[in-house]
Symmetry: C2
Subunit: 205 residues, 2 copies
Amino acid sequence: MPVLGKTKQEVLTEFRTAEILEAARRVFAERGFHEATVDGIAEAAGVAKGTLYLYYHSKRAIYWAALKHGIGALHEELEREMGGARTVAGKIHSFIATKMRFIEQHRDFFKIYYSEFGNAFAHPTQVHEEFRELYQRQARLLECVLREGIRQRTIRNIRRSATAAVISDITRGAITQRLLGWSKGDVENEIEFIFDLVWKGIGNR
Amino acid sequence: MPVLGKTKQEVLTEFRTAEILEAARRVFAERGFHEATVDGIAEAAGVAKGTLYLYYHSKRAIYWAALKHGIGALHEELEREMGGARTVAGKIHSFIATKMRFIEQHRDFFKIYYSEFGNAFAHPTQVHEEFRELYQRQARLLECVLREGIRQRTIRNIRRSATAAVISDITRGAITQRLLGWSKGDVENEIEFIFDLVWKGIGNR
DNA sequence: TGCTACACTGACCAACGAGTCATTGGGCTG
DNA sequence: CAGCCCAATGACTCGTTGGTCAGTGTAGCA
């Protein structure tokens, strides 16, 4: 009997799902998709292997769910933060800053996310397609802002989609370097540095 | 008996090695490290599996050798092309252009190279360390040019290493997008576009 | 208190693939 | 031409792991 909009089963499913996803994120981040074992995830989640298969039909499905969940959370945060900024420069700054800060809080997720770029070369199929979709949704946030900037003449009239890709790439690159421990130093400094470079690069004058 | 500087054995080893590496590059590029099988590589190379183990002691060793070989070739090309350019702007343009063009000729290698960035998260050890070394050797080529530009005042006085990383990242990003088929269009256009953005971003004025 | 439903368990299985090694055969030497 | 050497072979071993399913225990109900 459904009470308060949720049956007992729904509540349970939600709880287990969250538990498993959280463990999966940790294990996949630490070992990568192939080196991670389903047993390992089950142990980290504190359940038996069979239980995982009650909620996800395969190892890949678990991986994919963890990935999607993280991307969703990031996207929401980006929309919120960019929406809060008033100027074009502010929105672009916000994109870079939000993404860079989010990572410090969610290193595990980002390791999965970025390693998926590498893996994407190997799976030319369904998952790959869906991953691209999610990635480009982010790029589109930037494209909108760029369009506005060009209209206002604060930004030179350059190819929007290519420019959005470049901004994404720089941010992604900086984050990768940090995750690999190849660059340290204060995040906030890095944010300002990147924004400055970008803004000089795309701005009018 | 060594004749003309090479024994028969050396010639054979060289031949087999090249043969195997070429096949490995193809197979790893197509399937990724884990999904590729040693049997598959052997078949592609036209030899039996046992033969591979006469020349490399493990699957990883083959992978690593293929990766290193490609990085070496790219580095030589970069040095040559950048050395040929006379101005600072020319050298930076040359870095971007050489790398982007190289890819069109060596897509297989690049797929391995870039997927290694993802994999690097999982192997925090020896290989990872050596990979970083090779990556940073490339960044150093850029840093040198940046130093010169700053001295000449053609480039603003910005953090050299971070800037070098950014230029690498943009190029890498653009290449990744092409490899994944997410961006098409003429390579030469893309080179100009990226160079323009970079130069506006780092230049004085 | 007895019964049922079902979430959960973990021993088990089958497939797979890295790495081995006894055997082969072609080329070179004497 | 005999005989040896050793590169090449590929059937085999054996550890690993994704996925299964018969069995267990407990919460909730009558």
